[in-house]
């Protein structure tokens, strides 16, 4: 065995390693393409796979078939085909748009490989019959020069994309490949320079390509993990919002149905038993009918955007107090004759919410509803003598979906969230504090009767903060999609 043979064998082994590394890098690129769908990675993956697959057999077989002169037979032709295929795909990748849904990198690589092998076979047969290959070192050298130019040109294309770090590394690798090709061209012409250098250079490129592809993939994987988490989270929020929407709608329908049933019942009772009911009862039923009708209106006209008006607090709340007292609640009213500016119906809805809460969380407790003027504004307080709300929960209770933890009953937790929204929409607010002596005190503020109408700079309507999930749901709602 001569030194030349040993060197050739060494070169052969390195080439096999190169081909394997290129294929590995190709697989990494294709995996990345799978995750992000960006066309450049798809094309680069296809290019690397095709290059590896096209160069592997010639690296393996060349020494075996023509061990005396491997460089001058099978290897060059298949190399030329491989490089051309690779370059075509790389350039396409560099020019590709962000996402190409028709791209199938594995199929592209397989097609390029099969086509390349066929082309190689034809080229070798033709070349062998037309003239013996041995004598044409000049031809090969010329071909290598052309390939060098190809590598160099694509390197230039890649390096021109200055703001793209992955293109930068691609450019460096392509430039190194160009250098290796040049060395190989020189090796054809002068016996002194060894093809070993070229192969070693390619090994460096193969290694760097694997490293780059790996790094890219890791980066995508970690950011993909975050993205999946965020997506799951958003999905979760969206579902929750849709659930709440559906529940809200269901509750409103249910409300409307029972209000209608009550209206029918009351009017029929009035009609049928007119003579047998005393005047006080009839009067009570009639006034209940009226307040029930406005309740129906509020249920149907989801917070119709009427302009705020000035209204007397005690008069607005009187029907509610009657109804809640009949439900067993003890209410002390200290409203005086104060007026406020807002939407009376919504204000009453909020107070009703608070009374129902008091009935539930402070059972048996007296509930006091009072009011006082505070500068330009009016404060209405609703206080009970129940367990109160721990200070750390006082903001939390206004969050969407909040429920007190001891509560086992089903419910949407929309009560106080909606209450705050309703109050803020009419230029007021709601907060909760501790009642001196124990219990919860909800404080509702509204612009006073002397204040200028809301919508002017004096009483700004607090904008609702919107979450991402809101933005997802909104278009769905607009299209009438139901949960």
């Amino acid at each position: 065995m001569t030194t030349g043979d040993t060197t050739q064998r060494g070169v052969g082994v390195i080439r096999v390693i190169n081909a394997t590394l290129f294929m590995s890098a190709g697989v990494l690129r294709v995996v990345r393409w799978r995750l992000t769908g960006d066309a450049r990675n798809g094309y680069l993956g296809a290019a690397l796979l095709a290059f590896g697959l096209l160069t592997a057999p010639s690296s393996l077989l060349a020494p075996a078939i023509h061990s005396s002169q491997p460089e001058l037979t099978l290897a060059p032709i298949s190399r030329i085909v491989a490089v051309v295929a690779c370059l075509v795909l790389v350039v396409r990748g560099l020019r590709a748009t962000a996402v190409d849904s028709r791209l199938r990198p594995l199929r592209t690589a397989a097609l390029a490989t099969v086509f390349g092998w066929a082309l190689t076979a034809v080229a070798i047969t033709v070349a062998a019959t037309v003239q013996p290959l041995d004598g044409s070192t000049g031809l090969w050298a010329g071909a290598e020069i052309v390939l060098t130019a190809g590598w160099a040109a694509s390197a230039a294309v890649a390096l021109r994309r200055k703001r793209d770090p992955s293109a930068f590394w691609l450019g460096i690798n392509l430039a190194t490949m160009a250098t290796a090709e040049l060395v190989r061209a020189i090796a054809f012409m002068s016996v002194t320079t060894d093809a070993f250098v070229a192969t070693a250079l390619q090994l460096v490129v193969a290694g760097m390509t694997v490293a780059n592809s790996g790094a890219d993939l890791t980066e995508v994987l970690s950011s993909e993990g975050d993205r999946m988490l965020r997506l799951t989270d958003q999905l979760h929020n969206t579902e929750e919002l849709l659930d709440e929407e559906a529940r809200e709608r269901e509750e409103r329908l249910h409300d409307a149905r029972s209000v209608i049933a009550a209206l029918k019942a009351a009017s029929l009772t009035l009609d049928r038993y007119e003579e047998r009911l005393d005047d006080a009862t009839k009067h009570r039923l009639r006034s209940s009918l009226v307040s029930e009708l406005s309740r129906l209106e509020s249920v149907i006209d989801d917070r119709a955007q009427q302009p705020p008006t000035v209204f007397r607090l005690d008069l607005a709340l009187a029907p509610l107090f009657i109804a809640e007292r009949r439900n067993g609640l003890v209410i002390t009213s200290r409203l005086g004759m104060l007026s406020a500016r807002g939407r009376a119906l919504e204000f009453v809805t909020v107070v009703q919410n608070l009374l129902v809460n008091a009935r539930r969380y402070a059972p048996g407790s007296v509930v006091t509803v009072g009011a006082r003027a505070r500068g330009d504004a009016v404060e209405v307080y609703v206080e009970d003598r129940g367990p109160g709300i721990p200070s750390e929960e006082r903001e939390l209770v206004f969050a969407r979906g909040h429920r007190a933890c001891r509560d086992q009953t089903e419910g949407s937790g929309l009560g106080l969230y909606l209450a705050r929204r309703l109050m803020r929409e009419q230029g007021g607010d709601i907060r909760v504090e501790e009642r001196p002596g124990g219990g919860a005190r909800f404080v509702l503020t509204l612009p006073g009767s002397a204040s200028r109408p809301a919508g002017t700079t004096c009483a700004p309507i607090v904008p609702q903060p919107r979450s991402d999930a809101d933005n997802i749901v909104r278009p769905l709602r607009a299209r009438g999609v139901s949960a």
């Binding site: 988490l229 029972s258 039923l285 009949r326 439900n327």
Partner: protein, 219 residues
Amino acid sequence: MTADVVMVEDHALLADSVSLALQVEGLDVVRAPLTSVEAVVEAVQAAAPCLVMLDLDLGEIGDGIALIPPFVALGCDVLVVTGDRNRARLGQALSAGAIGYVTKDQPFDVLVGTAQRACAGERVIDDNDRQDLLAELRRVRAELDRRRAPFEALTPREQDVLDHIADGKSVETIAAEFYVSTATVRTQVRGILTKLDVTSQIAAVAKARRAGWLSKSHR
């Protein structure tokens, strides 16, 4: 104070009207205070009526169906008065011991008439209708059981992990919270996916939601 009928109804005007109508028809009616479950049961016990007219959606007190057994135990007939047209739920009320039902969209006369007949000890429900409702209840329950069966197969720890995944937490976070290795959590996640016959965590969460499985905090 005894009465013939106790109304357990959270809609003041409806309760008022029905009470007035029944009183005019010669029945003593009282309304139970809706402050708590105990207060309602106490009021019924004190009144010892022949009939309780019960709304199924008592708003803040919760599901009226839970009140049926205690009322039956007190020896009362329970007539369900509801706006709910869900037939499985009506079936549930019947199987809990209610003698019949009136939906709120039926004419007021039907409501009053049914209450009167119930008080007189007459049957207020057609046998076919009753069988239908109970069959519907069985069907819905079977469907629910079928959907929940794969979740019953989860170990308590896997259920915890599923809850956490539904919260959008990563395997790493869950592992840190449970003081176990990520490999352990991954094994549990694989267990969940296998038992639920799904291929991704998102699919598992979606399936759990659809089956109504996820614990209260997620609903």
